[in-house]
């Protein structure tokens, strides 16, 4: 799993361990890091110190003394993204998805904040509002639990010091206690021992060894070309009928987009989410074009 240095360019950029992406993101978040260094030189924390993305976000927000409900999230987005660069070992990558979800939402908000606001309410804006509300709500909820956990800690510590009477029964009364209900066989007992000796960190089965089979966009494009040339028009639904693997459907869709880029086909969609109708439109088509098609997606 550990990427060798020459493989790194394909690593997912925001969490990539390689210098290239680190340098790239550095430039975008340079100001925030620089201002960190000036204003609070001590604030250098490894990401593993944060217990999840909300913890990190909350920390960044409170560092700027902003109210969650009022917060200008674009101000903390850069820092949040910058911290994601510390997500650089396999184990952390496993837990990175929630960080990425939050980062994506933050980026959306930042972009929306930068763009001029029109009166127009489109679906995207509504979705963005919803995403923001959801993030606020979850963050507030998280903060509430985090705050109340301090009460738990105080009570537990206080009570830890207390001593309760817990003394064995006198011999004469012990014999009167009801017979013990025992239902374990020796094998059950051994299974229990296994559990008892197990490390308290639950071993979990990694999914690293599961790789989706690779799908070639070029191959799929060849199929699309063949199908379309043989007929006048075809809906996308027909184009993928009978295909069960999502990966192939996606690849076939991407190949349609690529062919459109090359003006090899045209498409028509009368209403949002409506039927997508494809037509072969190439004046001159050479199969050699296929060879370079989808090169952007090559690994």
């Amino acid at each position: 799993m550990a990427p060798s240095p020459d493989e790194t360019p394909e690593t997912f950029a925001p969490v990539g361990p390689d210098e290239a992406t680190a340098a790239a993101s550095d430039s975008t978040s340079a100001e925030s890091i620089a201002s960190d260094a000036e204003s609070e030189a001590g604030f250098r924390v490894s990401l593993s110190n944060f217990d999840g993305p909300f913890d990190l976000l909350l920390n960044l927000i409170s560092k700027h003394e902003m109210d969650i409900t009022e917060v200008s999230l674009s101000a903390v987005t850069n820092e949040f993204i910058a911290y994601l660069q510390h997500l650089d070992d396999d184990e952390e990558l496993d837990q990175a998805s929630e960080f990425l979800v939050v980062a994506a939402t933050l980026l959306d908000m930042k972009v929306a904040g930068l763009l001029p606001q029109g009166e127009l309410v489109d679906a995207e804006a509504v979705a963005l509002l919803e995403a923001r509300d959801l993030l606020f709500a979850r963050l507030l909820q998280y903060r509430a639990f985090k705050e109340v956990s301090a009460w738990f800690s105080r009570c537990l510590q206080r009570e830890d010091r207390r001593h309760v009477r817990a003394v064995r029964l006198d011999e004469k009364h012990r014999t009167q206690t009801p017979e013990l209900v025992w239902s374990l066989s020796a094998d059950d007992f051994a299974a229990l021992a296994l559990l008892a000796f197990a490390p308290k960190e639950i071993p979990h089965v990694g999914l690293d060894h599961l790789h989706a089979p690779l799908v070639s966009i070029r191959e799929q494009a060849a199929i699309v070309v063949t199908l379309l040339r043989g007929t006048e028009s075809l809906s996308f639904r027909e184009l993928v009928s009978g295909i069960r693997e999502p990966g192939i459907v996606v690849a076939r869709f991407i190949s349609v987009l690529e062919l459109y880029r090359h003006a090899a086909l045209s498409f028509e969609q009368l209403e949002p989410l409506g039927e997508l109708t494809l037509r072969w439109a190439a004046d001159s088509w050479s199969d050699e074009t296929l060879a370079s098609l989808g090169a952007d997606y090559d690994r």
């Binding site: 985090k146 109340v148 956990s149 537990l156 207390r162 009477r165 003394v167 308290k200 960190e201």
Partner: protein, 209 residues
């Protein structure tokens, strides 16, 4: 029980007269003390009443008398122990003033503190129970499997039931947690309800303009 007969008769009459002689001298107090001395978990009023064979109301009043008595508000001196209601029942504790003395005597290492992650997870489960592991994980936005295992091993939470559809296990807190917190019921948790009811939806009006 036959030799207690006189006590059994003597007691109710005293109570009928409302208070005056309910004094800790009452044999009911002695019987309650006998039970309190041998229990190894808190005993509720009803169970205690059944054990000593007296009405719950009388037991409640006698318990109150004993609490005062041990605290030095009765006829005798203050005691080195006290009677506390914790985790749904009554139990004898070393008086707080003497905890350090006792700690020194029994030695032993302080129990390991819960991590911040465990505390937060515990809080979520306490307020949201019954709750599944994945629900907790989504509130905390991190995987909570190993933390839940720690809390289970410590007996602070327990598996309540499996969801009939998904089979996901629902967790809740235990009476042992109440004891460890030194409270008598979940009602004594600090209120944070406004934030919990519905997560996302309720916030629209309140938070976003």
């Amino acid at each position: 029980m036959t030799d207690d007969l006189t006590d059994d008769l003597a007691l109710p009459t005293e109570q009928q007269a409302e208070e005056p002689t309910i004094s800790a001298e009452s044999p009911l107090a002695e019987r309650i003390e006998a039970i309190l001395l041998i229990i190894d978990e808190p005993i509720g009023l009803v169970a205690l009443a059944a054990a000593v064979g007296s009405p719950v109301a009388a037991v409640r009043q006698t318990i109150e008398t004993l609490v005062d008595d041990y605290d030095g508000r009765g006829t005798g001196p203050r005691r080195g122990f006290e009677l506390r209601e914790v985790g749904g029942g009554w139990r004898l504790y070393v008086r707080e003033d003497h905890d350090s003395l006792v700690a020194e005597f029994v030695g032993g290492q302080a129990p390991a503190r819960l991590s911040q992650a465990a505390l937060e997870t515990l809080a979520v489960i306490a307020y949201k129970q019954p709750v599944t592991r994945s629900q907790v994980a989504s509130i905390r936005a991190v995987n909570v499997d190993s933390v839940v295992r720690t809390l289970l091993a410590r007996g602070l939470i327990t598996e309540l039931f499996a969801d009939s559809e998904t089979g996901a296990i629902n967790y809740g807190t235990t009476d042992a947690l109440l004891q460890h917190l030194g409270i008598n019921s979940l009602d004594e948790l600090p209120p944070i309800s406004p934030l919990l009811d519905d997560g996302a939806d309720g916030f629209d009006e309140g938070v976003v303009r």
